[in-house]
């Protein structure tokens, strides 16, 4: 009986303290002890997107694209490519790219030939290239199209290394740049890349070899140096 009374007493005491706390009078603190600045709470785990419409982690992606070698002076400025990527997670993808170069000359080369009889068909041309491409999926988002529909996007950081086969030899190269993917559906997207292509390659301006009246040179006799070329890629991607 005594134990029951004590138990009841303790329970009522706890209830009483809780009620008393609610009725606590306002505390008055001196101004120098009050907080003078505010801070935002820091969470251990920040997650801005809980449910992604476009899920890439663990998936493969196949792509076909067209490249415009914008600052190529001598050879045809277009090339076609196919790529396959493995998305290791939502932030990273690794891919293998294969490019086939057009075999013609640029408009500038044609003008130089017309005006000065310079034939750059004598210089070694690029034929194809193979690259290992790294994609950092920095930004994932969605955009509104006239308030009626949305399209998901990825903004990518890009870097690749590989080799380019010329008519005379193979040369190493690397690219860095940014890419943008616009998803029509969770599996199909349009992709544009802007890259700086840094590559070793033959110098097509060889003295005594390019003029139409010059003897035809050996394609292995051209000197080499590092070239810088701006690339603009546009292509279609299929995620599966």
């Amino acid at each position: 009986m005594r134990a029951k009374i004590w138990g009841l007493t303790l329970m009522m005491t706890a209830f009483g303290f809780a009620s008393s706390a609610m009725a606590a009078p306002d505390l008055e603190l001196p101004p120098e002890e009050l907080a003078k600045e505010t801070v935002l709470p820091v969470f251990d785990r920040v997650e801005m997107v809980r449910v992604r419409k476009v899920k890439t982690s663990g998936k493969w992606e196949f792509a076909g694209n067209f490249s415009w070698m914008m600052s190529e002076p001598i050879f045809d400025t277009s090339r076609l490519g196919v790529s396959i990527y493995k998305h290791t997670d939502e932030e990273t993808a690794w891919g293998a790219q294969f490019y086939s170069y057009s075999t013609g000359l640029s408009d500038y080369s044609k003008q130089l030939n017309k005006q000065y009889q310079l034939d750059y068909n004598r210089a070694p041309k690029p034929e194809f290239g193979a690259f290992l491409d790294y994609n950092a999926k920095l930004f994932y988002g969605k955009m509104s199209i006239s308030k009626n529909s949305t399209m998901n996007t990825h903004l990518l950081g890009l870097a690749s290394i590989g080799m380019t086969k010329y008519e005379n030899d193979m040369y190493p190269g690397a690219t860095v740049g940014v890419g943008y993917k616009f998803y029509f559906t969770p599996t199909f997207s349009l992709r544009t890349d802007l890259r700086l292509f840094i590559h070793q390659a033959p110098i097509p301006f060889k003295r005594g070899a390019i003029l139409s009246t010059d003897p035809v040179p050996d394609k292995g006799s051209f000197k080499e140096r590092i070239h810088y070329t701006n690339l603009l890629d546009i292509g279609l991607n299929w995620l599966f």
Partner: protein, 268 residues
């Protein structure tokens, strides 16, 4: 006996304090309710007539007037007339000026490294439409390819065309806006815009050539007053080519910098 008396005293005091605190809370809630009732504006007949499809009644009244619905009734509901797929724009632009400054460079000139700065000033009539003027001045340096062409192939390159500056005035169309997350940690709001413009290009000879320009770009909001902006412009103009004939030149120019919006967006 003393213990029992003490216990009754404690219990009485605790229960009293609990009751006092509950009374206090109820009184405070009543005060808040009273303030809300006072601040609520009365519904006028005009407002009622303008919102013909919706009746502004208290939830209780709605509940009592609305007949019970079944699942079959749901299929007969009409579609929403307007669907906003994303929340309001973070950076409003209607009725505001935009001043931009940033470095720029020509990406597709094989003979010259062309770099400079762009200044733009625009005004948006609506969130979608606006006008913008641009002035860019360029500094030019010969590329290795041009030096080799001149040296190895004995070509005079003085008449090769390059751009010293250009200006355009055009229309800005911003149909796309959205938001994206930076590595799933931070939300960034942006607009994508397109621009068509006319103007002039000053080439190396000093001549000013008529120029048509199209461009596309993106504005990433940092605050409601300034933003990071990048764009690609494609300029077309006519000039004498390498083979001495008149031809069309096209320059792809990339620019990246910061935009400042004014006056302050204090109407949202």
């Amino acid at each position: 006996m003393k213990k029992t008396t003490l216990m009754i005293f404690i219990l009485t005091s605790l229960i009293t304090s609990a009751a006092w605190s509950q009374d206090s809370d109820v009184e405070e809630l009543n005060l808040i309710q009273l303030e809300l009732d006072k601040s609520a504006s009365p519904i006028t007949e005009e407002e009622d007539s303008s919102t013909s499809n919706t009746t502004r009644q208290s939830p209780d009244a709605n509940r009592s007037n609305t007949p019970d619905m079944t699942y079959e009734d749901v299929s007969g509901l009409s579609e929403f007339k307007q669907v906003s797929v994303i929340q309001r724009r973070y950076l409003p632009r209607t009725g505001r000026f935009q001043a931009y400054i940033g470095p720029s460079m020509t990406l597709n000139d094989p003979w010259f490294n062309v770099m400079g700065a762009s200044l733009k000033l625009g005004y948006n009539f609506t969130e979608t439409w606006g006008i913008e003027g641009n002035y860019s001045f360029m500094s030019t340096d010969k590329t290795m390819a041009l030096k080799e062409l001149s040296k190895e192939n004995n070509i005079t390159t003085e008449n090769f065309v390059y751009v010293k500056s250009y200006y355009t005035v055009g229309v800005n169309w911003t149909p796309l806006y959205g938001k994206m997350t930076w590595l799933n940690e931070k939300i960034v709001y942006y607009d994508i815009y397109f621009n068509a413009a006319f103007g002039g290009t000053e080439i190396q000879s000093g001549d000013m050539q008529d120029t048509f320009s199209i461009s596309a770009g993106q504005i990433f909001s940092i605050t409601k007053a300034y933003a990071f902006r990048w764009d690609l412009s494609w300029n077309f103009f006519e000039a004498k080519q390498v083979d001495a004939t008149q031809g069309t030149y096209n320059n792809v120019i990339m620019s990246a910098g910061f935009s400042f919006f004014f006056p302050e967006a204090n109407y949202r």
